[in-house]
């Protein structure tokens, strides 16, 4: 046993080491983001020649903002609305579908449970680029190409969410509680809604959040399914903006419509909803979990 003094010193050293590690990684994650935040306030010239961490000017920010809003006579807002519609509806369906499925896989005994788990895993491992063509053909077969459903339905299939729910319910919701509810005469559905779901709120938040982010940032599926530019979600729109900058499409010429700072700004605006949702989901994910209340 060490003396109390050296013990405190040790603890202090440990703590500062922890602090250093956390801060170093914090910088790693944030430095590029800070650069991005500042880039939106600069002119293209300042972006290239200035100090990476200098603040541009509010007037440049305003100019970039106005240019962004006028791109293709205001397409930006349309794309944003589309993204909200697609990711939002898909989020609702995803939750309604995945959470009960994950719960049943973890806590109920039924025929085909294990094959279902295994198939889910296999499907998750399939390279997505290989599934684009078949899904496109399916959707086309039922004449849904070019409709919001053509992206919302595939978005709603979220095996990763089912797995998260499965793992969570298996680990964190004690079966004894559910048994007790059953003995009190609750139906299966009632047991799920009254007991399991409240306990599962954190995983609902987590699945919802991941589903939203993944769908919000999905590029390839909408790119394939929605040939109409007024139906593009943000990601496809952003890519189009990218090709309107001289860096990536030199031929756009002197009258280039989009400069890199505007593109940066577009990104920040498009990432904002994700961050807002993150902050909302945070509270649930962290909220006092009663998980394992009956485990010893």
């Amino acid at each position: 046993m060490s003396s109390p003094a050296s013990y405190t010193a040790q603890r202090w050293a440990g703590r500062s080491l922890v602090a250093v590690v956390l801060i170093v990684f914090g910088l790693f994650f944030l430095v590029p983001v800070i650069w991005l935040l500042l880039a939106g306030t600069k002119t293209n010239h300042q972006l290239v020649d200035g100090n990476p961490f200098s603040f541009g000017s509010l007037s440049a920010l305003r100019h970039n903002w106005d240019a962004l809003m006028s791109f293709q006579s205001g397409s930006f807002k349309t794309w944003m609305k589309n993204s909200v519609l697609y990711a939002g509806l898909a989020l609702v369906i995803t939750l309604v579908v995945s959470i009960p499925a994950g719960y049943a896989l973890a806590k109920l005994d039924f025929k085909g449970r294990r094959p279902l788990l295994i198939v889910t895993l296999v499907v998750m491992l399939m390279p997505t680029s290989a599934l684009v063509l078949p899904i496109f053909l399916e959707v086309n077969y039922v004449h849904l190409v070019n409709t919001p459903l053509s992206v919302i339905l595939p978005f709603s299939f979220f095996p990763f969410g089912v797995y998260l729910a499965y793992i969570y319910f298996a680990d964190a919701v004690p079966s004894e509680l559910l048994e007790a509810a059953k003995i009190d005469g609750c139906s299966e559905v009632r047991t799920f809604t009254a007991i399991a779901l409240p306990l599962g709120m954190p995983v609902v938040a987590l699945v919802g959040f991941f589903s939203f982010v993944q769908n919000w940032n999905n590029f390839f599926l909408p790119y394939v399914m929605l040939p109409r530019s007024d139906a593009y979600p943000m990601q496809v729109g952003l890519t189009q903006m990218l090709t309107s900058t001289p860096n990536f499409n030199p031929v756009v010429g002197a009258s280039a419509e989009v400069s890199p700072p505007e593109l940066v700004l577009a990104t920040l605006v498009s990432a904002a909803p994700v961050l807002v949702i993150f902050l909302l989901a945070q509270r649930y994910v962290v909220s006092g979990l009663t998980a394992g209340a009956t485990k010893g």
Binding site: H45, L47, V48, D49, F71, Q72, S75, K111, G112, R114, P115, L133, P134, F136, L137, E138, N140, Y141, V145, N146, V224, P227, R228, S229, T239, Q240, M241, L242, T243, S244, P246, N247, F248, N249, P250, V251, V252, G253, A254, S255, A256, E257, V258
Partner: protein
């Protein structure tokens, strides 16, 4: 460890087997249905059969025509104003305008989406704009895109003859043209007149003189540059002008490649010498690096017609009254002056269109305009009458220090036809092999064999037969 009674396990397993079998049956049935729905498609080699049909008045098989049908056009955001201008000028025509990335930066969007439409059997846009011009390499085969031939009755010869000489070659396969060229990207010699006068230099007319001048610049004014080789289109400036047979598309599926030809060595040596004496930058023109280091150091710049607006005015912000263009350079041993071409967009019409007349009318109209509304078109029009207007207007803008119209219109007809456009991307190959090698300090000359190998590999991948 398994602690389940053995018979229970067996029961469960046999059940699982039957269930898997049932699932497989269902899936199989659906797959069968799907594959029936998805007929068509084509092999790697590509069927070289044409969509030609000599009985049709347009020379190819058409869908049933409806002169009232609305047409859909795909444009990039730069071309959107001209499409809108068409609607403004034709109130009863009202085409539906869709913006997409315009195939920029090798995205291949047009091809990717077309292939999906081919599989689905519907969905093709009637008219499509691309910032490149090699869609005929795949769209001329039946089963992929089925682009419409424009010179077999769809567009009158009087109109076609107004396009700059040779400008439709890039989208012509076996005498059939598949595009209306939007703009030309013929290479000229851009130079900074103010600096040239200040240093007391004459504008060179041959590549040999150009190289001599570069040596002079290197000793007298180190830091100034006379060209760049940091972009993927470098071979289209130097190798094309040297008549290097690296990309001689001789048929729908045949290409002649010989990078060991003296002409290729000549071009490679030129680049190597200038890189060695530091008068040629190896930075990308549009990367942040170049703008930061070399923006005010550009003395000369062999390159396409769009460099004037895009590079000097746009990226480098060179002040007005300094930049001028000289005629394309000539190799002393070549019989006549030839030049290369970097890009230049095109308009494509789908043979599936239900209103070909409207599609052709649209494509003809937009290519014949020198102005997009009030603004000048951003690039040099391929349609000669429009080009004349455009050049005169550009000259009037007062940005240029000297006459740029004459050198440009001269170069427009000097693009060497021995450099084709195939399905594989020469730019991607150059970037992957030559640029990557150059960044490790290798010479272009030493990379010629690797360049040859990569072109051959890529060509074979797309089912081309490669000859030397």
């Amino acid at each position: 460890m398994e602690m389940v009674p053995r018979n229970a396990a067996r029961v469960r397993r046999s059940r699982r087997v039957s269930r898997v079998r049932a699932a497989a049956l269902v899936a199989g049935a659906v797959v069968g249905a799907l594959s029936l729905a998805a007929c068509g498609g084509q092999s790697v080699g590509g069927s070289t059969s044409k969509i030609a049909d000599s009985n049709s008045k347009y020379g190819f098989k058409t869908a049933s025509q409806d002169s009232k049908a609305q047409i859909t056009v795909w444009v990039d955001s730069t071309r959107e104003p001209i499409a809108k201008a068409y609607n403004a000028a034709h109130p009863d025509a009202q085409v539906k305008i869709v913006t997409y990335d315009g195939n920029a930066n090798g995205s291949n969007s047009f091809k990717t989406k077309t292939q999906l439409f081919d599989r689905a059997g519907s969905g093709w846009p009637d008219v499509t704009f691309t910032t490149d011009n090699n869609s005929a390499a795949w769209g001329s085969f039946s089963g992929t895109g089925d682009l419409a031939a424009v010179n077999k009755g769809l567009v009158p010869d009087t109109t076609l003859n107004n396009f700059a000489k040779g400008s439709l070659d890039v989208c012509t396969v076996d005498g059939t043209s598949y595009c209306l060229r939007n703009d030309l990207a013929q290479n000229v010699l851009w130079y900074n007149k103010t600096l040239m006068d200040k240093f007391g230099y004459q504008v060179p007319t041959t590549w040999e003189d150009y190289e001599k001048l570069a040596d002079k610049v290197a000793t007298e004014h180190p830091g100034y540059i006379v060209g760049t080789a940091g972009d993927a289109w470098t071979p289209e400036i130097y190798m094309w002008a040297a008549q290097c047979p690296a990309n001689d598309v001789t048929g729908p599926k045949t290409v002649k490649v010989d990078t060991s030809d003296p002409n290729c060595v000549k071009g490679a040596k030129l680049i190597d010498d200038l890189v060695a004496n530091k008068t040629m930058s190896t930075l990308s023109l549009f990367g942040p690096d170049f703008a930061k280091n070399d923006a005010d150091k550009v003395l000369m710049l062999p390159g396409p017609s769009w460099y004037g607006g895009s590079v000097f005015q746009g990226t480098l912000k060179t002040p007005a009254g300094q930049v001028a263009a000289a005629p394309a350079l000539k190799w002393a041993d070549a019989s006549d002056t030839v030049t290369g071409d970097v890009g230049g967009g095109a308009w494509w019409i789908s043979s599936h269109s239900k209103n070909l007349a409207a599609a052709a009318d649209f494509a003809t109209w937009v290519t014949s305009q020198a102005k997009y509304g009030d603004a000048l078109a951003p690039t040099y029009p391929a349609y000669t009458p429009a080009a004349q207007t455009w050049a005169a207007e550009t000259q009037k803008s007062g940005y240029y220090a000297d006459d740029i119209v004459t050198p440009m219109s001269q170069a427009a007809g000097q693009v060497w036809s021995g450099w084709g456009s195939a399905q594989f991307s020469q730019e991607a190959i150059w970037a992957k092999v030559v640029q990557a090698g150059m960044s490790q300090g290798k010479t272009v000359e030493s990379l010629l064999p690797a360049w040859q190998t990569e072109i051959e590999n890529q060509a074979k991948t797309f089912g081309y037969e490669v000859t030397k």
